[in-house]
Chain length 112, copies 2
DNA sequence: CTTTTATATTCAAATAATCAAATATGCGTG
DNA sequence: CACGCATATTTGATTATTTGAATATAAAAG
């Protein structure tokens, strides 16, 4: 698309941001960092993924400015850039919860 | 991954949900439907996309249960399934706004 | 039952995202 | 300055996602 309206441009940025959330490892990283800042090694252990995988996902989160970094000697501590990211994820999780609950109730209805 | 922890499974579902948001056209559709329910033709006109494109994106939103449908004769009216979806998008938009604002201020700092 | 209007789907091509494995960089210490 | 630990990047293969164009279905009206 050569020419874009303002609304389209904003939606493009927003969609980009959302694509940073579109991976389970990155969601886990964000929730882990919300609990407390951690370095790469800690994330690797806590999430049970390989170090290159964690680093790759951290780069994506960094590129989207969703995390902050602080070097402490040899290790780099990552932290959540904005608490509203978790607020947004929690809202989505709540929607997900309700959807699954209604589906569960449908199953009960069919049984009876 | 053959065996998944509960946290991984939830994150997988959440990531799936986020991938439904990871497209500018779908973001525009959700905001348009939040304003008021619309049928496919109206969305096509309002968003300036082709009808097959809109229908394809609506199918994805339907599959994720983010929209409801109501047939009215020959046309099908789509509506937003849950207002929290817009709340979440608005939070992300606010984060985006702040990030861009700080970048803008950096530009000013460099100038002076 | 044919036509028209509204919506949905399929197909092929282009683009992008993912992962594991290997490799590279960077900092602190002896 | 060489070694070792912590982190980052590259590569190549695989898999997904998006789109336009063409086509299909579905309902209402005549």
């Amino acid at each position: 698309m050569l020419v874009q309206t303002l609304a389209q441009e904003i939606s493009q940025l927003e969609a980009n941001l959302c694509s940073a959330f579109a991976d389970p490892t990155r969601i886990l990283i964000l929730y882990a960092l919300n609990e407390q800042p951690r370095n790469v090694t800690e994330l690797t252990i806590d999430l049970g993924a390989t170090q290159p995988t964690i680093s790759r996902h951290l780069k994506i989160l960094r590129d989207h400015e969703l995390v902050n970094t602080a070097r402490q000697g040899v290790s780099i501590t990552y932290s959540l850039a904005d608490p509203r990211l978790i607020q947004a994820l929690d809202l989505l999780r709540a929607v997900l919860h309700d959807n699954l609950t209604s589906k569960a109730n449908l199953v009960i209805d069919i049984k009876s």
